[in-house]
Symmetry: C2
Subunit: 308 residues, 2 copies
């Protein structure tokens, strides 16, 4: 491990070639997703084109890579983690398609391209989201399991993280919070659900694919939770500081929608410090994984310092 | 078995107290659904209220009862079938919520009550559908399995029936068919996916909960397929012949939306004969189940003769 002191590593880049790691695993994930999804020519073509349009829109694949890195940190095999990584990405993409709809965040652009409903119409966009959500569970059910965690455990893990008490709860609270005064506690509630839940689930599923121990699972849970919160605070910061071109999606949306964000409640500088502290806590959570968590650390650091 | 001759039983009521059977199992299903769903007071309340509003809107529970009757026909226990019956009803309800949205069939009434988006707004209606879809998989994953069929098999069964090649494909083809000339073959394609897929899945999951043999599973598959087609032909007929008050939903919608239906393509009388013949074929499919399929037969007969 290049750095043993927590404080020293907290915001420094760890000596690890993350770009090539991301590049390699993004390719594996894209190729696996292509394998798991019905072909674009499968009847009815519209729905399969729409599913693939959003799934292959150039997303950063942070959740799948986190899943794979978590598996590796527990001594697991990338191939065992890949189906679960793909399932999480299907859930993430479905949630973006639905969140972008006019009835929700009403966004015309995502990842620099027109959103699903702008290309295929609202009806098909809703159905493409539904189809990706359904596909995610089929992919998990078809995955190979090892000893400690059965399909039952993996499905419950994914369903809970994506369900009405977590991911969907976050979106509901976000919708309901627009234009209202929001406390930092309420904002934390939203971020835990909208972002942390699925990031945490990605890390946990990766560990589970590697037959991780309970203490490893706990470490991944704490790590995913804090990385998820940091990720969302940084998203809020970028919404204020970057342009739409830099983000590939509409910037300044939160302010326009009168959404509470960390910068709007505690200011930009304090928000940055909060993101840094959350990242430090994510690093600290990795201690039980000892020397194997370099990729996870590097990912957390990258997410903290990203500019889009 | 009260009738051994196929032709004689085809459209006659079998000697079986279906109303009390439906009443008894509808109660069990409602109580199990109440148990499986988060409470209406769970945070965020809006989403849980919306999920429950549509789930407890007085649906006929045909799919869950079919699932239970299939389990019984294979010598199984009602309690083993109940979670799967509830999962199928969650899928059915989610598909109704999304189908009723303005971007799809744009319906204001369902089962005699305002549709979800009319009560909660489009955003929450979309999320309530998503949440019920997700919940369905969690319920299956938490169910007790027996020997022959694992959670993996049950999840794949449900995901395929609800996915982009079946249930969702049917809705896509239905959307795309509006205002276009449709052949009976294309109409059959839509009905197989929009209705048969999930009815067939209900019967199969019931059988699987009872550890059914492959020949029993094949019988249930054929039965569900033909009952599903008959069900949809009758739905088309009722849309023309009944009033909105009788149906509890907007009548004449298919004609207004220039949707192809059996009555619009082959006429009302021929449509009725087609529904009868499909029901006969559903009866014939039950032969391998011998004397145990009385409830299934009675259900098929009831669906043929229903007036709403």
């Amino acid at each position: 491990m290049p750095n043993s002191s927590l404080d020293a590593t907290a915001t420094k880049t760890v000596a690890f070639d993350l770009p090539s790691y991301l590049n390699r695993h993004t390719k594996s994930v894209n190729s696996a997703l292509d394998h798991f999804l019905p072909k674009a020519t499968a009847k009815p073509q519209t729905i399969h084109k729409a599913m693939r349009y959003s799934l292959f829109a150039g997303g950063k694949r942070m959740r799948p890579v986190l899943c794979i890195a978590a598996a590796e940190a527990c001594g697991g095999d990338v191939n065992d983690a890949l189906p679960l990584a793909c399932a999480v990405e299907c859930i993430h993409t479905y949630s973006l398609i639905h969140d972008d709809l006019p009835a929700m965040d009403d966004d015309d652009y995502r990842r620099g391209r027109l959103t699903s409903h702008k290309v295929f119409g609202e009806g098909i966009a809703i159905l493409a989201g539904d189809a990706l959500l359904t596909q995610a569970f089929e992919i998990v059910a078809r995955s190979k399991v090892r000893k400690r965690y059965a399909h039952q455990d993996l499905i419950i893990e994914l369903a809970q993280a994506s369900g009405s008490l977590q991911l969907i709860a976050g979106q509901v609270a976000d919708l309901e919070g627009e234009g209202r005064k929001t406390s930092t506690n309420q904002l934390r509630y939203i971020h835990e659900r909208k972002t942390s839940a699925l990031l945490c689930c990605s890390a946990r599923l990766g560990g589970m694919s590697a037959d991780c121990s309970l203490s490893q699972l706990k470490a991944l849970t704490d790590f995913g939770y804090h990385v998820g919160l940091a990720f969302q605070v940084i998203d809020d910061i970028l919404d204020v500081t970057q342009t739409s071109e830099q983000l590939g999606k509409t910037a300044g949306k939160d302010t326009a929608a009168q959404k509470a964000t960390y910068p709007s409640i505690v200011g930009l500088e304090k928000s940055k410090r909060i993101a840094e502290n959350l990242t430090k806590r994510a690093f600290a959570a990795l201690k039980p994984l000892r020397g194997k968590a370099t990729a996870l650390k590097s990912l957390a650091d990258f997410l903290l310092k990203r500019d889009r």
